[in-house]
């Protein structure tokens, strides 16, 4: 098995003492697109936040391996440097911090090496301007976007596009898209999905984990595998056709098959 696969083994996670994830086993393969689908409250976002290292999520059991490292031992910033990226469902506004300055700080953090003067590894300003311009052009973003404060006063669509811009700038090798489709109309959704596909085309080895409640995003970001998360466990796995089946039948038929008629 490639060390460039992200391997989740028997992951149990609690929030405020309540167990949400109850033994997740999942391998995100290098270069593949995986979709995790599930009803509200199934633990989808918990999985996303846990992989990114949010302090509120307490791992009670299990392990996550990537590139030979136990991801769970790493601080959120070190996970980012390792190549993990989380596109937030609800991106956070930070007043007074421009998109351009923030992305430069993030790039420089990625380039920094222990024991080396950060000035010597920092991206030169001219090069940075070129990179951000080309990325913004690729995503068809207006130049003034870079001068705005991070997510401050952004529309839902703008927030999600900024997430994709960050992904395009940081060039992760695993990207987790947490309900990227939520709150977007179909046009915004297409733009965002197109952005993801462009980044993926440029970097075919990128592994993607698309977390979604609905099938419609998967019309634009085509998954290789679909996993169904329910009650904190992966209860079904299959190919892209499973997303269509879920769309048609809803989640209840799986719930009945797995948990009986108890619900």
């Amino acid at each position: 098995m490639s060390a460039n696969n992200l391997v989740i083994r028997n992951l149990h996670v609690a929030v405020d003492g309540k167990e949400i994830l109850k033994g997740i086993n999942l391998t995100i393969e290098e270069g593949k697109i995986h979709a995790i689908m599930g009803p509200n409250g199934s633990g989808k976002s918990t999985l996303a936040y846990t992989l990114a290292g949010h302090p509120r999520y307490e791992v009670t059991e299990g392990e996550v391996w990537y590139k030979g490292q136990d991801v769970l031992d790493l601080e959120p910033n070190d996970r980012s440097k390792l190549g993990l990226f989380l596109a937030f469902q609800y991106p956070v506004a930070v007043a007074g911090v421009t998109v351009a300055n923030f992305l430069r700080a993030a790039l420089n953090a990625h380039r920094a090496q222990e024991g080396v003067d950060p000035k010597s590894t920092a991206i030169p300003m001219a090069e940075y301007r070129k990179v951000i311009k080309s990325r913004m052009d690729m995503l068809e973003m207006a130049p003034d976007f870079a001068r705005r404060y991070l997510n401050e006063g952004f529309s839902g669509g703008e927030k999600k596009r900024l997430e994709i811009l960050q992904m395009a700038m940081l060039q992760p090798s695993i990207s987790i898209m947490d309900e990227t489709d939520s709150g977007l109309d179909i046009d915004a959704l297409k733009i965002v999905a197109e952005g993801v596909n462009k980044v993926k085309t440029e970097k075919p080895e990128l592994g993607v984990l698309v977390i979604t409640h609905y099938q419609r995003l998967l019309n634009y970001i085509k998954p290789d595998y679909v996993h169904v998360l329910m009650n904190g466990q992966i209860v079904r796995e299959g190919g892209p056709e499973m997303a269509l089946e879920l769309e048609e039948k809803g989640y209840d038929f799986i719930r009945e098959e797995v948990f009986g008629n108890a619900s």
Binding site: A52, G53, H54, P55, R56, E75, P76, N77, R79, S80, K81, L86, F88, P91, V92, V94, A95, G96, V97, F102, A105, A106, L107, A109, H110, Y149, L150, Q166, L170
Partner: protein, 396 residues
């Protein structure tokens, strides 16, 4: 604390100051009145300003070093206050003491008794001044008490942009600055005034600033306070004229043992006036900052549109801030909003920045600099802005 302040400050210093001047009778008599008021006043009940260990006997009267950077323009007069007292007696007489009111407290009285140094700026009618006027008061020595005063009077339909910086040498013992800013904006005109206080952390600052805004006139007001040991400064925007407006921003950033207080009062006196207050506070270590705000809309203030915002960020468990946003409304057709928040750095913001690769300390620093950056970016002079940025970067 002695009950009688007079015992702490030698009258001989006051007399020496008077003797060294050849001032008109009205001013001498005002100084005498102010001194008498100072002598008899009770110690004020300032529960939020720590004057423990502060003793006026420790200081001797001096003048702040004054510098002005301005190429000059027709219709603009900038004079040392001592000269303006002679040449523009009527204007000075009208405006001097409008912010620093002898009856307010003994320190205001002392301020008026000792006012020395300072500047007078006058803009003739219909004159729009493009160039920024840069003024600076600098306290060179410990053990001194200085009382510089800035007076700005603009005639109708004129405009000017002024930045006042108050700084000091880096001495270890304390000094006192009795500040005063007194501004009158003529009808239909505009004054942009930025006050930046970057005194070293041993200096006491006591004083008042006031802007009176006449009919259809506007003011942009910025108060940046990052220095001093203790500051207690009253700020007052009087929207006296119908249709006048003020856009007012400020920053308090305290660390160490700094105790910084501003008391902004926004008075909507005229008809259809507009005022926005937006202050930010950061406290770290054992610092204590106070925003004692008040919006007053008397019965004359119909059609007022007023908004007051104050947001405080606490970076340590032992730092404190008080926000007292007051609202007094006696008119019925008004729009008035206010809100204040205080709290620690948002955990979600921290996580968001960390998840993009920023180490914890850098993420925290980025958030704090962003929080204050919105205000610091408004400082109109690059050199001053850089000095403030350097001080703030050291604090974070």
């Amino acid at each position: 604390m002695p009950a009688n302040l007079q015992s702490t400050f030698d009258v001989a210093q006051f007399e020496a100051l008077l003797a060294s001047r050849n001032e008109p009778e009205w001013l001498t008599s005002r100084r005498h009145e102010a001194w008498q008021s100072f002598e008899t006043a009770e110690q004020p009940d300032w529960r939020r300003t720590n004057l423990k260990g502060f003793n006026l006997a420790d200081y001797s009267v001096a003048e702040a070093e004054v510098s002005v950077e301005f190429a000059g323009a027709e219709g603009v007069t900038i004079l040392p206050l001592a000269e303006a007292i002679q040449s523009h007696a009527e204007l000075v007489q009208r405006v001097l003491g409008s912010a620093v009111q002898t009856s307010r407290d003994p320190y205001s009285a002392l301020n008026n008794a000792l006012v020395n140094g300072g500047l007078f700026i006058h803009v003739a009618k219909d004159v729009a001044v493009e160039e920024l006027v840069r003024i600076r008061y600098h306290v060179a020595n410990a053990g001194t008490i200085v009382a510089p005063r800035t007076l700005i009077v603009t005639e109708r339909h004129s405009s000017i942009n002024v930045i006042e910086e108050i700084s000091s040498a880096d001495f270890d013992a304390s000094a006192v600055v009795l500040t005063g800013v007194e501004i009158e904006v003529g009808d239909g005109g505009q004054v942009n005034f930025s006050s930046v206080q970057i005194l070293n952390s041993n200096v006491y600052v006591l004083g008042s600033q006031q802007i009176r805004i006449n009919r259809d006139a506007q003011a942009e007001w910025l108060n940046v306070v990052v220095g001093s040991a203790v500051q207690h400064v009253t700020l007052e925007a009087n929207l006296s004229g119908n249709g006048s407006s003020v856009n007012w921003n400020g920053l308090l950033y305290g660390n160490g043992k700094q105790n910084l207080l501003v008391a902004p009062k926004l008075n909507h006196i005229g008809l259809n006036t507009e005022g926005q207050i937006n202050f930010k506070t950061v406290v770290d270590d054992e610092a204590y900052a106070v925003f004692d705000g008040m919006v007053k809309i008397p019965a004359t203030g119909q059609g007022t549109n007023s908004d007051l915002r104050e947001n405080a960020l606490h970076l340590s468990k032992t730092s404190r801030s008080d926000s007292i946003p007051g609202l007094e409304i006696d008119a019925n057709e008004v729009k008035a909003g206010h809100g204040s928040t205080s709290g620690q750095i948002d955990e979600e913001q921290l996580f968001y920045l960390q998840s993009r690769g920023l180490p914890f300390a850098e993420a925290k620093r980025t958030i704090v600099l962003g929080f204050v950056g919105e205000i610091i970016d408004m400082i109109p002079d690059e050199a001053v802005r850089e000095r403030v940025e350097t001080i703030v970067a050291d604090k974070v």
